[in-house]
């Protein structure tokens, strides 16, 4: 029995040795780019990183952390590139430069069993603020609405707040209506989609790139998020996806190389494959 144990430990030792050797002849840090931020952009970044590594040998480390986290990380220098699915605020623009890498549209999704086909921005706002609580108020079934939301700090949520939750007051000023707290809170597009797929009375919003036939995409203001409508600008919930770099960093060769690869035709075709839209037509 002792022999058995010692043989296991021997193989452990052997594998440690092999791993050590293999990693000793590895790369120094100046061959690495770190990308951190939006979970929406994460899958595309991973794809880009993979292809870019095969082409140039430069390793791109991709982290999640949400848009806000990405902006923070870039500003602090923890990440070389921040990925953000929301625009920078004025203050943030002082130190960071944004590069549009693609476009994304938010799809409003409901469960397959829901008979509703279309929704207006006003109704959406009322639902998410907690004003409308039952589907029958929208001529649907008599079922309480279950809202599925994202974490505060998520770029997807920020865009939704920007596009939907802003209401014009009597004095023509805009005000953000706070969202009701009764919603399910999920951490990613896929999780929201899974929740909506599971729960018959639910409504949520995800990046168009994450939708599939398991959920129903609603028309917003009677426009459905098709490629044409998004590119023409008719669909209201469209946003740019950004990569952020520190001002002056673009002179860094490997980073500028990576970004020019992304903006190249090949890179933009990859983003299309993942369900997003190219930055230019």
């Amino acid at each position: 029995m002792n022999q058995f144990k010692s043989s296991i430990f021997k193989s452990f030792q052997l594998s440690v040795l092999i791993l050590l050797l293999s990693s000793l002849c590895s790369f120094a840090k100046d061959n690495v780019i770190t990308v951190a931020g939006s979970t929406t952009i994460l899958p595309v970044s991973e794809k880009w990183a993979k292809v870019f590594k095969n082409k140039t040998g430069v390793i791109v480390n991709v982290h999640g952390g949400g848009s806000t986290g990405g902006i923070k990380a870039t500003r602090l220098g923890t990440a070389d590139i921040g990925a953000s699915s929301r625009e920078l605020s004025e203050g943030e623009k002082k130190s960071l430069k944004e590069i549009v890498i693609g476009k994304d549209a938010l799809a409003v999704i409901v469960n397959k069993s829901n008979p509703i086909e279309s929704i207006t921005i006003d109704d959406l706002r009322k639902i998410f603020a907690g004003g409308i609580k039952n589907w029958k108020e929208l001529n649907g079934e008599d079922k309480p609405i279950q809202v599925v939301n994202r974490e505060s700090g998520s770029g997807t949520r920020d865009l939704f707040v920007d596009a939907v939750m802003k209401a014009e007051l009597a004095d023509k000023t805009q005000k953000i209506i706070p969202m009701a707290l009764t919603s399910i809170v999920n951490n990613s597009n896929a999780e929201v989609k899974e929740s909506v797929k599971l729960i018959p009375s639910s409504i949520g919003y995800v990046s168009v790139g994450f939708t599939d036939e398991t959920v129903k995409i609603l028309k917003v203001n009677s426009v459905s998020p098709t490629n044409e409508n998004i590119l023409s600008g008719d669909y209201p919930l469209v946003r740019n996806l950004y990569y952020l770099v520190k001002n002056g960093v673009t002179s860094n060769k490997k980073i500028s190389k990576f970004i020019s690869y992304i903006l190249s035709r090949e890179g933009q075709e990859l983003i299309l494959e993942e369900g997003f839209f190219p930055s230019t037509n």
Partner: protein, 337 residues
């Protein structure tokens, strides 16, 4: 002997009385019998229910995960990311191995030394009590607190950034009490006679420990290490907070740049499972990763059971070993020499 005869007689008497149902107390006794049957039946049921729950969970995970889990492409190809988490889990496996090596390399020497101090040296004083109090509390802290600590101390304060090093050190602190407890028990199981005869030969304390006590306690200590490897494999909260989750490159073990060891952010299998189940459209792959994790845990258990038995009862407790009420330790001679 007489006692047992009495006992059997008692039961026979009960049986006879029940058979004679005309007896007035017959009803009473049958109700006792009924209660007995129900109670023992429930106990029996609860015992087997636990087994059933385990088999059901494992079966459920295996049913959905086996087809994917044992394909070469899944186990030995690097991950490609993307919405459906294409590619395999090679980097995650490597990251898991690195994390195990890293955290054990830190926790094992410290933990075993601590155990040696506690069982061989520690005098009865306030410092020893403090150490015991600290270990006691460390064992009870939930992993998310270790995660917050790792984030604040290793990632931010020591500027390790999100890395396996930061995660591994936080995990090492978490498994420290496990290693200390199991090693201490193993050391205490070494007969006092060994120590005395070694010392009687004029050998000093360190040599006694090194040549006599450690070798005979080694199997028990290894058990503790295997136990903690199991916990490292299953840990996820700490790593999400302190190790990040990049999967784009093969993690390095050493690096020429700060922080020199395990400098990369990486996902272990457990963390990857969490992301697969929630952040990717990859539920079936999550099951496959679950199968791999369960297999690792099973493998560790089998390795563990195959090892020599140290203290009478083999692997009395798998995880909560350090939590079990330890019997009072008779004042050993250890404090006297």
């Amino acid at each position: 002997m007489q006692f047992h005869i009495c006992l059997e007689g008692e039961y026979t008497r009960l049986d006879n009385m029940q058979n004679a149902s005309s007896l007035k107390r017959g009803h009473n006794i049958s109700s006792i019998k009924l209660e007995e049957t129900i109670a023992l039946g429930l106990l029996w049921l609860s015992g087997w229910l636990v087994v059933a729950v385990l088999l059901f969970i494992i079966g459920y995970i295996f049913y959905y995960g086996i087809p994917e889990a044992f394909s070469f492409n899944y186990l030995f190809l690097p991950p490609e990311g993307g919405r459906y988490d294409t590619g395999g889990i090679l980097y995650q496996i490597i990251a898991t191995i690195y994390l195990i090596i890293g955290s054990i390399m830190v926790a094992a020497p410290v933990g075993i030394s601590t155990a040696i101090y506690l069982s061989e040296y520690a005098p009865q004083n306030i410092v020893t009590n403090m150490i015991r109090f600290a270990i006691e509390n460390l064992a009870g802290i939930p992993s998310i607190i270790y995660g917050l600590f790792g984030l604040a101390f290793f990632v931010v304060f020591l500027k390790f950034e999100y890395s396996l090093l930061a995660g591994g050190l936080a995990v090492a602190v978490m498994i420290l009490p496990v290693i200390i407890r199991t090693s201490e028990e193993a050391l205490k199981a070494v007969p006092v006679g060994y120590r005395q005869s070694s010392l009687a030969l004029g050998v000093n304390k360190w040599q006694t420990i090194y040549k006599v006590i450690l070798p005979s306690a080694l199997p028990g200590i290894l058990t503790g290490i295997l136990l903690s490897i199991g916990r490292v494999i299953g840990e996820s909260a700490i790593l999400i907070l302190a190790a990040g989750g990049s999967i784009t490159a093969i993690p390095k073990f050493v690096s020429l740049n700060y922080p020199y060891f395990l400098p990369d952010s990486a996902r272990t299998l457990a963390v990857h499972l969490y992301y697969q189940a929630t952040s990717y459209d990859a539920r079936s792959k999550a099951f496959a990763t679950g199968v791999v994790l369960i297999f690792l845990v099973l493998f560790l258990r089998i390795t563990n059971d195959a090892g020599p038995v140290t203290s009478g009862v083999p692997f009395k407790n798998f995880v909560p070993q350090f939590l079990t009420p330890t019997p009072p330790v008779p004042p050993t001679l250890s404090s006297n020499f």
